[in-house]
Symmetry: D2
Subunit: 242 residues, 4 copies
């Protein structure tokens, strides 16, 4: 399976806390633990030509992981459109944390994707609400993160196809923090945790969810529907009579 | 609209705290505020013959509200079955709080309906996650209850057709506390709050949700499907040729 | 309730069959039967300034009905964006037939919205699959249209929040022909029938579905969530200790 | 993976057409093609002690396949209850054709599960409506069966968690013929085709769907929620102050 981890990679360059958490970038950290699963890993970042997402890269990618935050606007519309269309064609997409406001995600959702937020070193506890889901494989009924940014409802997304995790926050909010959506032949998994100033992607449980999410999001040779003008499959009654 | 409020009515008889909260019973309190909407109200309780749910009562009821707790087992299977079948036929059902373990609800869900719980005077905050839903009409984005029993995930229900409220609890849990389900021609609304030792059903916001829920659950003359052996609507190609 | 019926209004001007079916335009026909419900009706068409959808019109519209076909591309992006954002803010949207490819609908869906089609005077039979839904109020378990354009699966939409009608077509296809979607505070109803060369909008059952759809899509004073940076609702444990 | 194929096995003994289609019983035919996937296969039938579904068999079964028709009533309630509870605990369940009226399925659905039907050698065409789903892996956008029993809407099930196939029938009906449901930790796949008088389970595409369905339904070590009385995970503000 070919996985591309895309990262904005800006906080890492300017904020020493983030650089310290992720010396090889958030993309580097995510790629490292996904490699443990035996996947074929590539990374791509905002400042590369075409943001590292050339047609060739996208066409060969089975699952794209996306992390972005303060530079969503710098992602070219044309590239975001290509990502969207590749998802429709069957590429999996795992959108992390502040990626909720990224162009590919908002285009695929058709909603504003806004939410409440607060940076206050709060405890987050993610509760499993779908204990059948392969994304929860090997995990416990909740995950605790000692310090994270708060995201609170109302999260302006369509009702998810599947709701997997709901987060509790110390300050009094809740959040639908693990959710899946299908678009065309493609599967999208949104997973909330991962504010850049915390070492969240070093947490083994969070890594496990992302590993499971990538596996779930990969398309498995499902049908490619034909569309447009179509010949009838049945004769109509007039024709049968003739 | 004819509404029947069913209540176990046992705690009221033995626990002075409950009797004090609800001098006319939980059913009396709920019937009183639903009457404000101009509905035709009846109540029924466990210790009446047939639990007050004769065929005549059920057949004339547009929406049944259900509160039960410690005597679920005393509800006769035959009556619970009749309630289930009446829901299939189009009667709305609003299940409150500990009614999650009632026979009609568990039969309609097909799941265990178990959950975590704790009686510790905790704050509950119910967040709206579906701000399109008529059940949230006239309400704010959250409701706060200073003291309630905690119910926590995993709540063992099918994925709701619509998830409307998610609760935050002081002790660290979350709960899908407002949810809808369709069964046959009938609509079911589950709403969490209402532990007997708190005056929750005197809260105007909680009353508003239940008023809205009753309105939403009423069937509006939708189609009655025919089932069983069916004549073809189209001639098959052999017949057409003849 | 204020309803605006939007129509491309091009076929009516060039195709005598369409002009004959709808002497006052498709918008005129739809507005006429919706008026029977006592609503306040306006129409708007493509060739008016701002396509008749000024900020004032949109802000005052409770439910917008949309019919478009061959001139989707002529709808200005800015206007389509405004429609989308108004839906997020609570305006209902009823999208008819070939409106599946309209800019507002595709933006709200986040998918390609393509399908199979054929113009061959085929019989369509729409089966109710959700007999609880108020959109089916007063209707039978199926609706038959002697001649319609065929639309066939795969219809490239997200899994609907509610699937109400599935169509059978003479030529061998099926189609999810009545479906609802929620976006932000707004409700969207897609309803398939209504090819311009057939008198479909004169059919009383089709009219009834659209009347019901408009009623369902109207927002009923539901909460307006606040979003963005948020103060905590609870003191954190550090603060409590102080 | 351990799979148990359960079959009523009555038609095979009395109807030569069925015996001819399935000399080793419907269970034998299904077990044979599932073995091709390398699974560990067992069969069980109605007339065995405990219908072949002892506690030991059920506890060791990862996925149970169910075919029943004219003897649903002879399945003991106690055994049906055990199957239901095993599904809640994580066993996958694939229910075929007339199994829609079986005790385990109706108990898990909470609805009547009735439908229209007709035995008239009609063509069925199953259209994929979810081309992301692993159950459609390796298949085309539709499957054609020259002769099958007709099942028509309204199919009295809860709205499926996922709708995968919709069937077109020659006589004018449609049917939601491939659908998934989650119950507790268990996954349920209902798949329509397979009337006993046709050789449907020898069709390679139908076999492929069932193979995929079994793979999908198997639980993958997901969390086992704890329920009942629960200690708080957070100190409440009173405690913190002390």
């Amino acid at each position: 399976m070919k996985i591309t981890v895309w990262n904005e990679n800006r906080h890492e360059k300017t904020n020493p806390v983030v650089a310290n958490n992720y010396p090889k970038g958030i993309h580097g950290a995510i790629a490292a633990f996904l490699k443990e699963e035996g996947h074929d890993l590539t990374t791509a970042t905002l400042d590369e030509p075409e943001h590292g997402l050339t047609d060739e890269v996208l066409n060969e990618t089975d699952v794209l992981v996306w992390w972005g935050h303060k530079a969503h606007d710098e992602v070219k519309d044309g590239i975001a459109e290509k990502v969207k269309v590749r998802v429709w064609d069957g590429m999996g997409l795992v959108v992390l944390h502040s990626g909720h406001f990224s162009k590919p995600f908002t285009k695929l959702m058709g909603t504003g994707c806004d939410l409440k937020w607060r940076e206050a070193d709060e405890k987050e506890r993610l509760w499993v609400v779908d204990p059948t889901h392969p994304i929860t494989e090997g995990l416990d009924e909740y995950i605790e993160l000692e310090k994270e940014e708060m995201y609170g409802e109302h999260f302006d997304i369509p009702a998810p196809d599947e709701l997997i995790y709901i987060s509790w926050f110390e300050g009094g909010e809740v959040f639908r923090s693990g959710a899946t959506f299908k678009r065309g032949r493609g599967k999208v998994f949104y997973f909330r945790p991962g504010h850049e100033t915390y070492p969240t992607y070093h947490n083994r449980e969070i890594q496990k969810v992302i590993k499971n999410g990538v596996k779930w999001a990969a398309n498995t040779n499902t049908p490619t529907p034909t569309r447009g003008n179509a010949e009838p499959l049945e004769k109509n009654s007039e024709e049968v009579k003739e």
